[in-house]
């Protein structure tokens, strides 16, 4: 648990923990589709099966802010787990291109409508909640480290020069990914995301020792 939330520290019964998870998952889904600001606690109560009143929700979260922090934790966990599985053993440019393909294909399913789950949260909460922002910063760093790990393995294999600025390239790649998601969302067209990622990967590949 990365966010401070006194009520989540309270020991929950197994059933309580299940209900809490349902609430957070329902909130995460709603906020992904329609945004954080627009989503009300009533929306969450309606969406969470087995939760029928605000007092039930307040049993676990004393404010929308607290709920949003829990959503950040849950979404962050899912994204990092997904990315770790996808990138954990990639050590070639071809592997990176496949990673890109999967992300673009998944985004294409909704015509880019919802963007990056983590990125969208970052845009909406960074200005309003420092604790949530810090949790998001840690999550993005973790994701970036995964990318840097791939680039280092590529470097170790000799496909990138020893002086390639790995950390900076990882940031550039992440920025292209996040920006790609945003452009795709705005245009309702995943091609923008595909292009941004392709260009970034091509540039990184061009640094390889020929």
């Amino acid at each position: 648990m990365t966010t401070a939330d006194s009520q989540s520290d309270r020991r929950l019964t197994a059933r309580g923990a299940k209900t809490r998870t349902k609430i957070v998952a329902a909130a995460a889904d709603l906020m992904y589709v329609q945004g954080v600001t627009v989503t009300t606690l009533d929306d969450v109560i309606t969406a969470a099966i087995g939760v029928s009143s605000k007092s039930q929700l307040y049993h676990f979260f004393d404010s929308k802010e607290a709920l949003v922090r829990a959503v950040v934790d849950l979404v962050g966990e899912r994204v990092i787990e997904r990315e770790r599985a996808a990138l954990g053993r990639v050590s070639t440019f071809r592997g990176l291109r496949r990673w890109r393909d999967t992300l673009v294909q998944n985004n294409a399913l909704q015509h880019g409508a919802y963007g990056c789950a983590l990125g969208s949260l970052a845009s909406e909460v960074s200005d309003n909640d420092a604790i949530a922002r810090q949790a998001l910063a840690r999550l993005f760093n973790e994701w970036q480290d995964l990318l840097a790990g791939v680039l280092r393995r590529i470097q170790d294999a000799g496909a990138l020069p020893a002086d390639a600025p790995i950390d900076q390239l990882a940031i550039g790649l992440m920025a292209a990914l996040q920006g790609g998601y945003l452009l795709a969302q705005t245009a309702r067209d995943v091609t923008r995301m595909a292009t941004a990622l392709d260009m970034a990967l091509t540039h990184i590949e061009s640094l390889s020792v020929s």
Partner: protein
């Protein structure tokens, strides 16, 4: 909202028109970063708008068009004269439209990363990486045209 978009486009239109070589490109890049990092600037506010805000699609499209135009213009650096005397652009295999998409993605994505980290470096790094392929193909400001019409950098003139 419309005001922020209009203001950014107006400034971008003027600044991108000045971009003609690597130095002026670097100037534009530095100005964009400065604007974005200035709290409550039209750039910062424009980028903050939700991705499905109305007119945002037009705004991003218009900005992309401006950047594409600037990239296409500065890429037209090696005017090789053909046998029939016609001039053509040497674009070095860089697609201006795709380059513009990468630059815009770096601006948007870099902005998100900098916002989350409260640190200007991700935005700067992202733009450096996005602009690098383009810079490699641009002449430095000291490049001069030789009598034959080919671009030669100042260093190669002995």
């Amino acid at each position: 909202m419309r005001r922020h978009f209009a203001e950014v486009l107006a400034r971008e239109s003027a600044r991108l028109a000045d971009v003609r070589d690597s130095a002026t490109l670097a100037d534009w890049r530095a100005q964009v970063v400065e604007e974005i990092l200035t709290p409550c600037s039209s750039y910062a506010l424009a980028l903050r708008q939700a991705s499905d805000a109305p007119e945002r699609d037009d705004f991003v499209d218009a900005w992309r068009g401006l950047i594409t135009g600037a990239v296409a213009r500065v890429m037209c650096v090696g005017r090789a004269r053909g046998a029939d005397g016609s001039a053509s652009c040497v674009t070095g295999g860089i697609d201006p439209q795709e380059t513009a998409v990468l630059i815009l993605a770096a601006i948007h994505g870099g902005n998100t990363l900098s916002l989350v980290a409260q640190d200007p470096s991700p935005l700067n790094t992202a733009l450096d990486i996005a602009v690098a392929p383009l810079l490699r193909h641009l002449p430095s400001p000291t490049a001069a045209l030789s009598p034959g019409g080919e671009i030669r950098s100042a260093e190669s003139v002995t």
